[in-house]
């Protein structure tokens, strides 16, 4: 079913919307959550919570043209929360690794008083990513949005792990410079 029709069902408060969403995007959403939580049961809970969240937010939200991204953002958020609050040891280690990588992008120590709104920062990162080649952008997003392991990205892209790591390193350095130029005083 087309995204427009699924959103139409949400707007009409028709529960068929959830079923159609699950049919169309269920597998991909479950995959995102499984990659983050590394736990099938937790991932399934996150998937169900995603449908509930979508049901509660559409309307007033109307993600016409980006329904998958909208749902993916919700399940990513829920999956990260699940990792944090349910103390999944293994995944916590992975998250620590990820956040350590990302801290390289932050121009200033974390004791800065000023705190940016996530949304504003996210948009700035998006602008930076738009300047990259599609290949680099995909690698970056797969790593820090979908939280795919380096090994998985390398296999999916058909390139070596060292190349993925090098690409990520350069992107992080570039992002750090970009944020500084944009005047972010973090």
């Amino acid at each position: 079913m087309e995204d427009e029709r699924i959103i139409g069902l949400y707007m009409a408060r028709d529960e068929e919307a959830i079923e159609q969403t699950a049919v169309k995007y269920g597998t991909r959403l479950l995959e995102i959550s499984s990659d983050i939580t590394e736990d099938r049961q937790t991932a399934e809970e996150c998937e169900n919570d995603t449908y509930l969240e979508a049901w509660n937010t559409i309307p007033p939200q109307n993600p016409a043209g980006y329904l998958f991204a909208y749902l993916a953002r919700i399940i990513r958020h829920l999956s990260l929360d699940a990792c944090r609050y349910r103390s999944r040891l293994k995944r916590s280690a992975a998250l620590t690794e990820l956040t350590a990588e990302l801290e390289e992008c932050i121009p200033a120590p974390d004791d800065t008083a000023a705190r940016l709104e996530y949304r504003e920062l996210g948009e700035a990162i998006g602008r930076y990513l738009a300047t990259l080649s599609e290949e680099k952008r995909t690698v970056f997003i797969r790593r820090y949005w979908y939280l795919d392991p380096v090994k998985t990205i390398a296999a999916q892209r058909g390139i070596g792990q060292s190349k993925v790591k090098m690409t990520l390193l350069r992107c992080r350095e570039g992002l750090r410079e970009y944020l500084e130029k944009e005047g972010y005083e973090l």
Binding site: R28, P63, G65, Y66, F68, A69, Y70, A72, R73, R76, H77, L80, L95, L98, T99, A100, E101, L102, E103, C105, I106, D110, T112, R115, L116, Y118, R119, L121, G122, E123, I125, G126, L129, A130, E134, R137, T138, I141, R142, Y144, W145, Y146, A155, Q156, R157, G158, L186
Partner: protein
């Protein structure tokens, strides 16, 4: 700010970037594996193609090429020629045998016509035969009689020495009982003249499918009568013919047509058409009496045959190869 917060901020990336990364997340196999897969696919395709051609394309039966088998169909002596068969047909020939039509001849199972039959004497491999014509003119001193191939009973049952209407062939052999059994009739440039001038000639292909035309053509075919034994085929005018060089007659390749009658059963019947003489004929051994003037005129107009003289290189000596006409 900590890395975790930056991770949170990533959630607000533009949706189109998220979607694009998802779409591009196609797993790409390593180069060697991709090459191996491509090679394997190519190998499979080539093998399939080769095997299909090997098994299903008719293979030339050199040993028995042009071998003629005579068999009785009703009170006629029919001439069948050994035809090429694919290996698949060869393997399944035994199971395709239907009703027996007499000594060593079998109808194809479930076939309603007699265009193809199976010959099997029990000592050699079965062969597929295709109908050529009724043997209308057989001398009494033919080896068929003198060597005892045809029995005395055959001699009394078979009709010889008389011409026959093609309508009999249409009905008995091809199972065509009315014009509705014909799908189409195609008139296209013949292929007997491969000289330089012949190649330059343009002749439009005409396909008749409409009811009125099919009815008319059906009756023309049905009324064809096989010519007597000493009849001659139509004259063929090539570029080196004085009649053409002097502008008296057009090239035969310009006026003549190859005719393909396609039946609804899938079978085809082939003729040559010479509008100058008003003759439809199968080859120079199977000729039919000229059409009546009305039918011939109708055909010329309907097919759009140009009978006027054109210079296709009249004064140039033919440089190409000219196909020889099969001798009776």
């Amino acid at each position: 700010m900590r890395g975790t917060e930056l991770l949170e901020a990533m959630a607000y990336l533009p949706p189109e970037q998220i979607e694009a990364a998802e779409r591009r997340n196609r797993k790409r196999a390593p180069f060697l594996r991709r090459i191996s897969v491509a090679a394997a696919v190519l190998f499979c395709l080539t093998s399939t193609l080769f095997f299909s051609a090997w098994a299903f394309l008719p293979a030339l039966n050199v040993e028995n090429a042009e071998r003629i088998v005579l068999c009785r169909v009703g009170d006629r002596l029919a001439e069948y020629a050994v035809t090429d068969v694919s290996r698949y047909q060869d393997w399944t020939m035994e199971s395709r045998k239907g009703e027996s039509l007499g000594a060593n001849i079998w109808r194809i199972k479930d076939a309603e016509d007699l265009v193809r039959v199976i010959w099997d004497d029990g000592q050699h491999y079965p062969e597929l035969l295709r109908f050529r014509s009724f043997r209308a003119f057989l001398d009494e001193d033919s080896p068929l009689f003198t060597e005892g191939i045809l029995t005395e009973e055959d001699r009394t049952l078979l009709r010889f020495g008389e011409s026959y209407p093609f309508g009999e062939v249409l009905e008995t052999i091809y199972g065509v009982a009315s014009w509705e059994d014909i799908r189409s009739v195609t008139w296209e440039k013949a292929d007997f003249d491969r000289s330089a001038a012949g190649k330059r000639v343009k002749a439009e292909t005409c396909v008749l499918r409409d009811e009125e035309s099919l009815i008319r053509v059906y009756h023309i075919l049905k009324d064809l009568v096989r010519s007597s034994g000493d009849a001659e085929g139509p004259r063929r005018v090539f570029a080196d013919d004085p009649a053409y060089r002097n502008g008296e007659l057009p090239l035969s390749i310009q006026t003549d047509r190859r005719v393909t009658v396609t039946l609804k059963s899938g079978e085809t019947i082939r003729f040559q058409y010479a509008p100058g003489e008003g003759m439809l004929y199968e080859n120079h051994t199977v000729l039919y009496d000229p059409l009546n003037a009305d039918d011939n005129r109708w055909l010329i107009e309907r097919i759009g045959i140009d009978l006027t003289w054109h210079d296709w290189g009249a004064n140039a000596s033919p440089t190409g190869e000219t196909a020889s006409v099969r001798e009776p």
